[in-house]
């Protein structure tokens, strides 16, 4: 077999979160969790998975950092930008990669973002292409 590293079943299981940014929402009290949880702090185990792409219309950048000292899988993508992204409804924040930025000066706290489907990493020459959800500066302001 040619060399590949990413365990495929693990990637496959996570497709809903990677492609559609699913979060856990407690049907009992409404709390929202990312990363997902099996049980709510309220004690309820009645948890549904909700895609933020469906549920949330507006994302804002709360804070961000530019990571220069990256790990080996991202050596050819440096620097990486990560932001604390706030979703207003449901109210939840995520630390997510920010893409399509050449000039970091274009980013400011409070700026509106849009989720985009992107390649996260390519597993060498023979393994799978790992996709996921990143954010970038919104093409247009969303009117809510």
């Amino acid at each position: 077999m040619p060399d590949y590293n990413v365990p495929v079943p693990r990637y496959w299981r996570n497709i809903p979160t990677y492609y559609r940014l699913t979060v856990s929402r407690c049907r009992s009290c409404g709390r929202v969790y990312y990363p997902p949880r099996a049980r709510c702090v309220c004690g309820s185990r009645d948890i549904e998975q909700v895609s933020l792409l469906d549920a949330c219309r507006k994302f804002r950048l709360a804070e961000f950092t530019v990571l220069h000292s990256v790990s080996v899988d991202f050596e050819k993508q440096k620097p990486l930008i990560f932001g604390l992204v706030k979703c207003e409804n449901p109210e939840v924040s995520l630390v997510s990669p920010i893409t399509d930025v050449l000039n970091v000066g274009d980013l400011q706290s409070g700026i509106e973002l849009e989720p985009v489907f992107r390649v996260v990493k390519r597993d060498g020459s023979y393994g799978i292409v790992c996709y996921g959800t990143k954010f970038r500066i919104a093409t247009r302001e969303v009117k809510v």
Partner: protein
């Protein structure tokens, strides 16, 4: 119920660094054997190996058993404790209870890390496992990203500049320059910190603690020793919540939870985990040693310098010791014990009878506070 007092029988710390010519077993053996011999080679009931990444770097499971074989401790039971970079203090806490409740008489806690077998980008990948592997490391997030966001939020909250934060490192390097247990033994000027390479803005290289190899052994015992230091109390707190779910990313909630205990014991000597400068700053504030928003100012003014009423990181902290990941907290503990015992090179620290170690696992997912007391 009868409980034993728990004493530090002996310790040995190998100076951390890039020990390319030594294996993990060599480092572990050096630390253990020197500590053991210093204690008079007592019967060891249990070896607890503390390491964050031994399985990943060495591709070795059952590592504690193989270390024992190397030491010809053929029949000594062992286990490994892993809670990321707080493994060392977690192992101490576990051993404390074994001795305290009479399960063991002598327990050797052996912190080891052999990270420099990996190149830097692979080290970064190992570090990223401290973050959520599926939801964070997958996207390339490392602890430096968390620390950078924490630093930015903190700076914004209290209107600090990056330079105010960078002073932490200057002050640590003042202390660590003369510490033989430090891997980075150099005084640095504020310009050196501020001009060092950017890791994750605003964090620069000297605001981090550099991953190094290390091995340190502390033997806890129910019997007194010449060191005259007792492990008086252990306090473990958790906040198993990712940074994005926290009410305030610029807080260390698990450290705050140990505040009462610190007030009760009133330690005057501290060794705290400053794996990133922001952690050092926040620990001071969360433990109540500084009012919220004042730590950068106080540390810069020398409030916690050696010789002061309350001394913090006389060793130079992890900035100078380096960051032997899972062994970090054991190094801090070893430094504190030597300081309490007024052993060299810490004779200038002052006369302190109670000290505390504060170690943080991951981004405030858990913390261990250990109170050490010098026998009067």
């Amino acid at each position: 119920m009868h409980v034993n007092k728990v004493y530090v029988k002996s310790l040995h710390a190998v100076t951390p660094g890039r020990h390319y010519n030594k294996s993990l077993r060599d480092l572990a053996a050096e630390a253990f054997l020197k500590a053991w011999e210093a204690a008079g080679c007592p019967n060891i009931d249990m070896i607890i190996l503390a390491s964050a990444a031994v399985d990943i770097v060495e591709e070795q499971l059952l590592s504690s058993s193989y270390v024992c074989e190397y030491l010809s401790l053929e029949n000594v039971p062992s286990l490994r404790i892993e809670v990321g970079d707080a493994s060392g203090t977690a192992a101490l806490a576990y051993a404390y209870n074994l001795v305290r409740y009479g399960v063991c008489r002598n327990v050797a806690i052996l912190g080891v890390e052999k990270i420099t077998d990996f190149i830097s980008v692979k080290v970064n990948k190992v570090l990223s496992y401290l973050c959520d592997s599926t939801y964070e490391s997958y996207y390339g997030i490392t602890p430096a990203v968390h620390a950078a966001l924490m630093t930015k939020f903190y700076m914004k909250k209290f209107n600090y500049t990056y330079e105010d934060i960078a002073w932490w490192s200057v002050k640590m390097h003042e202390r660590g320059a003369s510490n033989p247990y430090a891997s980075l033994r150099r005084k640095l000027k504020i310009e050196d910190i501020m001009n060092s390479e950017i890791v994750a803005d605003p964090i620069r290289l000297f605001d981090t603690a550099v991953p190094v190899d290390g091995a340190v052994c502390i033997i806890l015992s129910s019997e007194k020793s010449d060191l005259g230091v007792e492990l008086a109390h252990v306090e473990q707190h958790a906040y198993n919540v990712s940074i994005n779910m926290r009410p305030d990313p610029a807080r260390l909630f698990t450290v705050n939870a140990a505040r009462e205990v610190v007030q009760k014991f009133s330690p005057t000597l501290f060794e705290i985990s400053d794996k990133f400068s922001i952690f050092g700053i926040l620990i001071l504030e969360e433990l109540g040693l500084a009012e919220p928003g004042t730590a950068p100012k106080l540390i810069r003014e020398g409030t916690f310098d050696p010789g002061s009423k309350v001394v913090v990181n006389a060793s130079g902290g992890l900035k100078c010791i380096g960051y032997p990941m899972g062994a970090s907290g054991l190094y801090l503990s070893a430094m504190l014990i030597l300081e309490l015992a007024k052993a060299e090179p810490f004779s200038n620290v002052g006369d302190h009878s109670i000290g505390a170690v504060c170690d943080v696992g991951g981004t405030d997912r858990l913390s261990n506070v250990l109170i050490f007391r010098r026998e009067s």
